[in-house]
């Protein structure tokens, strides 16, 4: 393929790069303008007031920590629940695989705002049980500003469409049953096999899932704002009314962070994905690609923080 391109005329090569360049301009223009705005005044002089303003107020610490904790938790919970679930379905209930696939795709077709509406209804009905009731306690615990579990759960679900597909594709290339059987006849239990044999062989998809979930969780706005939980993106929005330059700086930083994470996700998907196994070398990158590009698409939704 590459050889074919190299040997063809320059024009063809140019045409091939054209869409990529267009996309780059489309994405980079707003980012660059924000970057310029963050560090240069209208008269063109350099300023770091945006950055220092952020650091000075100290108000950023709590939302930042909150977002970090939520994102880490979401990534961990996602991997710890999704991997065994998909493995179990592959091993023991291959017929449920399509059901699981549909379930995991649902969050993609349900708008985030609808998910929040549903969540709010549930939370309200819990609260409606009255002061001191179990429902009320649950409600408080889920929405606690210290550890907003409701966000963790929501983010895990929002990430399912992409991470499920990636892990599912990774597992499909493995001879799971014989790996499990040869491991268990050697004395290993389920957990050991998962840890020592299965997960190392789907390192790419697992790393992708971790980075992706982290990136989505740290940049998500709609759900957090609607539930009035002060995460980093929500803080950013409030900030824009008092320290506009600061808010733009923060958004640029946030944007770059998510991009880096996504790049890490993509790289790990293809790098660790290149497993030294005869069966999978060819299908794996392909299998991962859709998930990655979909992921990038989905991100734009959440990046539209003001």
């Amino acid at each position: 393929m590459a050889e074919h391109l190299n040997s063809s005329p320059r024009m063809k090569r140019f045409l091939a790069w054209l869409p990529l360049a267009a996309l780059a301009i489309f994405i980079l223009t707003p980012l660059l303008s924000s970057l310029i705005y963050s560090f240069f005044r209208a008269d063109g002089s350099f300023t770091t007031s945006g950055l220092t303003g952020l650091a000075d107020s100290g108000k950023i610490v709590a939302p930042l920590m909150r977002s970090l904790v939520v994102s880490v938790l979401a990534a961990v919970i996602l991997v710890v629940t999704l991997v065994p679930a998909v493995v179990a379905v592959h091993l023991w209930a291959p017929r449920l695989r399509s059901v699981l696939s549909i379930l995991c795709t649902l969050p993609l077709v349900v708008p985030a705002i609808a998910i929040v509406a549903g969540l709010s209804a549930v939370l309200r009905s819990l609260a409606a049980q009255g002061r001191g009731s179990l429902g009320m306690q649950l409600n408080t615990m889920l929405q606690s500003q210290d550890l907003p579990l409701v966000l963790v759960g929501t983010y895990v679900i929002l990430c399912l469409p992409f991470t499920f597909r990636s892990i599912d594709a990774g597992l499909s290339t493995l001879p799971l049953r014989t790996l499990f059987e040869s491991s268990s006849i050697l004395g290993a239990g389920l957990g050991t096999t998962l840890r020592r044999v299965i997960i190392p062989n789907i390192r790419g998809p697992v790393m992708f899932s971790v980075f992706f979930t982290f990136a989505l969780s740290i940049a998500e706005y709609t759900v957090a704002a609607t539930l009035s939980i002060n995460t980093l993106p929500v803080f950013l929005n409030t900030l824009s009314s008092t320290n506009f330059r600061g808010s733009i700086t923060l958004s640029v930083l946030l944007n770059l962070t998510t991009w880096l994470l996504l790049a890490a996700a993509t790289v790990s998907a293809s790098r660790f994905g290149h497993r030294p196994s005869a069966v999978s070398e060819h299908d794996e990158p392909e299998a991962d690609e859709p998930a990655v590009s979909q992921a990038a698409g989905a991100f734009r939704k959440d990046d539209e923080t003001p």
Binding site: L179, E181, S184, G187
Partner: protein, 365 residues
């Protein structure tokens, strides 16, 4: 669980001996998948420390039997005993068996040494003992210097050796081999076969070796269990399976054989075939069929296949183009036989099997 540490030290040959091989016994085992019965009242006794090969056509239940023994398949009835105790309630990871799968099934994320060490790690054997054991197995299995490679950097035969080494590392009570050589070419096949046998005899591990290659089964095992349709047709020493098959199926499945319809009173001193009333079928090995050229012979030479020292002469009825019988002659004796020549055949040794014609249904004589 015993570790490699408190086992006996390596013997002079560099191979440790398993302290107590265990006998295996299937008692009236029934197994069906859905409505399909695969094993029906299956019984076998495998002596401790011996090697038994399961030989049979595709789909006869060999793998199923092995998987039941390993604990991967539940049974619908009967019992499976190892060392006199039922293992049916034990999960595979506490049965202390070694298994080599047809597809190798090495762990692709682990190097050769780590693959071999896997079972020892699980048994929490300390690093030094693990390394010693691995080195020893690499040597036994002809893999010296390959410990650091990954499975995808090995040839099929080498992967198969690693699979064998991995199965042997924990010194299992029983070693299960499911067509371990079927993916290899002929020369690697026979050398690895001899190696498996050598290692098995040195370690004295009770071993079940599945194959549908009769040569392999006869060459490697102490006893051969010929299976057909979920039953054992014959269970005896390799030479007995060949020279005195118990059933028509065994006679036809192992080696090539001639079938002649003969009368009740026929003996090997009589001509073939004898009139009238052919109510018996005799099974004669090609090397026990002697042919002489005779103008009034009842058979005709169809063609010959030269295989070096011996030549297989294919015979048929005059006027019928099909070759139904074969005689194996020393090549020098087959020189002057030409296709179309009339010949007379006689039997030089007691037939391998003689059956009432009704019991030998199937391929007509």
């Amino acid at each position: 669980m015993t570790t490699a540490d408190n086992r006996p030290r390596p013997s002079r040959s560099g191979i440790e001996h398993t302290d107590e091989p265990e006998a295996v016994r299937f008692e009236h085992v029934n197994k069906s998948y859905g409505g399909t019965e695969v094993l029906n009242d299956f019984n076998i006794d495998i002596e401790a420390g011996s090697m038994v090969s399961f030989l049979g056509p595709s789909g006869c239940g060999k793998t199923t039997t092995l998987r039941i023994l390993a604990g991967f398949e539940p049974v619908n009835g009967g019992d499976v005993l190892v060392g006199g105790e039922s293992v049916l309630k034990l999960p595979p990871n506490s049965r202390d068996m070694g298994m080599v799968f047809q597809s190798y099934s090495l762990f692709p994320n682990l190097g050769v040494s780590d693959n071999i060490e896997y079972g020892l790690r699980i048994r929490k054997v300390d690093a030094g003992a693990r390394r010693r054991r691995t080195e020893e197995l690499l040597e036994i299995c002809g893999l010296t210097g390959m410990g650091a490679r990954f499975p995808h950097q090995l040839s099929g035969g080498q992967q198969q050796r690693v699979a064998l080494a991995r199965a042997l590392a924990t010194q299992p009570k029983v070693l299960l081999l499911d067509e371990p050589l079927s993916a290899l070419d002929a020369s690697v096949r026979s050398s690895l076969r001899d190696e498996i046998r050598r290692v098995q005899q040195a370690l004295g591990t009770t071993t079940v070796f599945i194959t549908h290659d009769q040569g392999e089964a006869l060459a490697i095992a102490d006893r051969v269990a010929v299976m057909n349709d979920g039953r054992i047709e014959q269970y005896s020493a390799p030479h007995e399976v060949y020279s005195s098959p118990a059933t028509a199926f065994v006679a036809r499945f192992v080696g090539s054989i001639n079938e002649f319809a003969v009368g009740q009173d026929w003996t090997i001193r009589d001509r073939l075939p004898i009139e009238p009333a052919p109510d018996h079928t005799v099974f004669v090995r090609p090397e026990n069929l002697s042919i002489t050229s005779a103008a009034d012979g009842f058979l005709e030479v169809k063609h010959s296949t030269y295989t070096g020292e011996r030549t297989m002469v294919h015979l048929g009825l005059p006027g019928d183009h099909k070759a139904r019988w074969a005689a194996s002659l020393a090549s020098v004796d087959a020189d002057d036989l030409r296709p179309g020549m009339r010949i007379d055949a006689s039997v030089t040794a007691e037939p391998a099997l003689r059956l009432d014609r009704n019991d030998a249904e199937g391929v007509p004589a």
